[in-house]
């Protein structure tokens, strides 16, 4: 090949010869030959390389234009014979056409690989633009998203007795939207439970102990789901890009503790030592295996926190949900158990040994970070409070209805989450607008000073 003399390329003779991109003599006209003073070894080599880049022996008129222009032009009733001889069927000076032709030709030559790449890109786009990726993430074979259900309690403490203002509506709307987006993204199910409707039975003695019933109903409604995640209204998923599988369930052993002595704000005696109990029940960590965990509960500074917790479908869970509410316990303790199910669970954990081997505690900030104001005003407890730099998963504005501003907290965390999860283009835009703003301000300031 290299020994071949320069032959006409498909594009004809219009090539401006020495005026190559490698040899920019700064000439404006493409027709002027580069002066001999510009011909260096490098430029000559580059030029010949450029020529070699096209198959020298290719039959003429291979490209689309080559094939058809000729035919079109010869079929016209005018004679272009002379011109054609000169221009060999080309518009000799149309560089744009040549380029197109070249690109087309190259693409055609590489049609296999280009086709494959195109197909990949197209299917990638189709996968993410259409709901296909959701179906994938949802399916039990691939993503496994249908194994997870989020139960969101809406209207907590609301309803007939309490007046619900625009702020409460806004909080609920934001909270619901946040979970909807999250569950859609990962193919989970979302069950929004209106806790106020149950208030119709406000005269009933088991008033507002509906967590148990609600979880049971959800288990019935989603018979193929495995894990059920209870969330209070005043929660916000800060990092929607975390999937539950990756964030929690693939590393369950590492992020949970079975032995409550790791963090024991209630000072519960553990493990149990009564000799009549079997070794597994007396073991501080149950059987220590991840698959014996049927419930995940975070602890805050005051003990168990049921604002955000998980239960797994299992016979153990059926039993727990069944025994959780009991009329004798309720009658004896309902005045004392201010936090209802939460206190009852703490009580059962203390007094019914069968619960311990299957309940694991999860580090609070994995699923239930607190804002400042809950468990200490400073918000600086590294086990409890939200840390922006660690990109905590969820914020639970626990207790914000007691003297704090729920809506302000929800709003600021929503904004923060949006800011933290901008895509690169948004970051770029924000960077520009920010820098413009900054410049304007500095100008103003300097003017003021001036």
């Amino acid at each position: 090949m290299s020994s071949r003399s320069q032959s006409p390329r498909p594009g004809g003779w219009s090539s401006p010869g020495l005026n190559t991109p490698y040899d920019s003599g700064g000439r404006s006209s493409p027709f002027t030959n580069g002066g001999p003073q510009n011909v260096t070894w490098a430029s000559a080599q580059a030029r010949s390389a450029e020529v070699k880049g096209y198959t020298a022996f290719a039959p003429r008129n291979q490209g689309f234009f080559g094939k058809h222009f000729r035919r079109i032009s010869t079929s016209l009733p005018f004679s272009y014979a002379e011109k054609e001889k000169l221009g060999r069927g080309r518009y000799p000076n149309n560089k744009f056409m040549q380029m197109l032709n070249r690109i087309g030709w190259n693409l055609w030559r590489m049609r296999r690989s280009v086709g494959v790449i195109l197909l990949i890109v197209l299917s990638y786009i189709l996968f993410y633009v259409t709901p296909l990726h959701r179906a994938y993430r949802r399916s039990s074979w691939f993503g496994g998203g249908s194994k997870y259900v989020i139960i969101l309690a809406a209207n907590q403490g609301g309803g007939v007795m309490e007046w619900k203002g625009p702020r409460e509506w806004a909080i609920e709307r934001d909270s619901v939207k946040n979970k909807k987006k999250y569950t859609q993204k990962w193919g989970y199910d979302l069950e929004i439970v209106d806790m106020s409707t149950k208030k119709r039975y406000a005269h009933e003695w088991r008033e507002s102990w509906e967590k148990v019933d609600t979880i049971r109903n959800a288990m019935r409604k989603y018979p193929h789901a495995e894990w059920f995640w209870w969330l209070d209204t005043n929660t916000f998923i800060m990092e929607p890009t975390y999937s539950l599988q990756n964030h929690l369930f693939k590393q369950l052993g590492a992020i949970t503790y079975r032995d409550i002595n790791v963090y024991n704000p209630l000072n519960i005696t553990h493990p149990l030592t009564d000799e009549y109990l079997d070794p597994e029940t007396r073991s501080p960590v149950g059987d220590g295996k991840v698959d014996s965990i049927n419930m995940l509960v975070p602890q805050d500074c005051g003990g168990f926190n049921l604002g955000s917790f998980f239960v797994r479908r299992s016979v153990w869970t059926d039993r727990l949900l069944d025994i959780w509410w009991d009329p004798v316990g309720y009658e004896q303790k309902h005045m004392e158990w201010e936090h209802k199910e939460q206190d009852a669970l703490e009580y059962m954990y203390r007094n019914q040994p069968w619960i311990r081997p299957h309940l694991a505690f999860i580090h609070q900030r994995k699923i239930n970070s607190f804002p400042p104001g809950a468990c200490g005003d400073k918000g600086d407890d590294p086990h409890i409070h939200y840390q922006e730099k660690d990109r905590d998963f969820l914020v639970n504005m626990a207790g914000c209805e007691w003297g704090r501003d729920c809506w302000a907290e929800m709003y600021s965390y929503r904004q923060l989450s949006n800011r933290l999860n901008r895509n690169p283009w948004e970051k770029f835009k924000d960077w520009i607008s920010d820098s413009i703003k900054a410049r304007k301000q500095s100008k103003k300031q300097s003017q003021k000073k001036g």
Binding site: G253, Y276, R319, W354, I355, D390
Partner: protein
């Protein structure tokens, strides 16, 4: 981030999988007979009671287990509660056994030739004997025993005397459900609640309020497991007659009359033994 690493490291060191003895349920003797003994009771009588169970167990390859009242953290609750942790204790001591038969010290095994499993505990036998749709508390409580339960799903066999469920003679199948059931039954709330009949009323309570317990329960005719030689027997089938497995004298422990009340029955047993020899 460092915080997380630190915490994870801390937990992983603590979360080493403990070495727990792994004993397959069913690998040991099929039945363990559990009787709680009052340490203050007449020693001769206690010996005879133990002998009564030991002989029966030996004949069929079962085991016996005789803890005392004081072995368990009952606090101020009535001592009759001790049967609940005693069953759990027996399961801890003999984890390979399948059925745990709690029999009050007031009862005597009168027909040692009856093999408990084939007599009562095989799935087909249970399905045949189970009393379904029966009010848990006679005569007319709203909660009735479940119909269409499968015999192999039954974990708890109990009888009913004239007044209600009686835990004087019960069979519990070893397993996770048993732990749940016994621990829930033994909850301090029930023990301190002042149920009129202590653990029997607590049992009636949890059976009626918790479906996961009722669904494992088989109510069988009283004379299959707990025939009364004296006391408020179930009018249908509670009265002791010859060849019944058990003769129970429910009030005798409280009245300290067991040795005298049971004397004629011990005599019969002695006669049987002679006949066998």
């Amino acid at each position: 981030m460092f915080w997380l690493v630190g915490r994870i490291g801390r937990v992983e060191t603590g979360a080493a999988i403990p070495k727990l003895p792994k004993v397959e349920i069913g690998s040991g003797p099929p039945v363990v007979i559990v009787t709680v003994i009052d340490p203050k009771a007449d020693a001769v009588w206690v010996k005879r009671i133990k002998q009564n169970r030991d002989e029966y167990a030996k004949r069929h390859g079962y085991l016996t287990f005789f803890p005392g009242h004081g072995d368990y953290p009952l606090g101020t609750s009535p001592v009759t509660w001790s049967k609940v942790p005693a069953l759990r204790h027996a399961m801890t001591v003999y984890p390979g056994s399948t059925f745990f038969w709690y029999l009050d010290s007031t009862a005597l095994i009168m027909n040692p030739s009856i093999e408990l499993q084939s007599h009562l505990l095989t799935p087909s036998r249970l399905e045949k004997l189970m009393i379904v749709n029966e009010p848990v508390v006679p005569p007319d409580s709203v909660i009735k025993t479940f119909g269409n339960l499968k015999g192999d799903r039954i974990d708890f066999v109990v009888t009913q005397d004239k007044e209600g469920l009686t835990p004087a003679s019960i069979v519990v199948r070893n397993g996770e459900w048993a732990k749940y059931f016994l621990d829930a039954w033994f909850d301090p709330i029930y023990r301190s609640y002042n149920f009129q009949k202590a653990e029997s009323h607590a049992l009636e309570h949890i059976v009626q309020w918790h479906g996961t317990i009722l669904a494992k329960l088989a109510l069988v005719p009283q004379n299959m497991l707990n025939a009364y030689a004296s006391g408020p027997a179930n009018p249908k089938d509670g009265k002791y007659k010859e060849d019944d497995l058990v003769a129970n004298f429910p009030g005798c422990a409280k009245d300290h009359t067991c040795p005298t009340e049971q004397k004629p029955f011990f005599d019969i047993l002695d006669g049987q033994r002679k006949g066998d020899d």
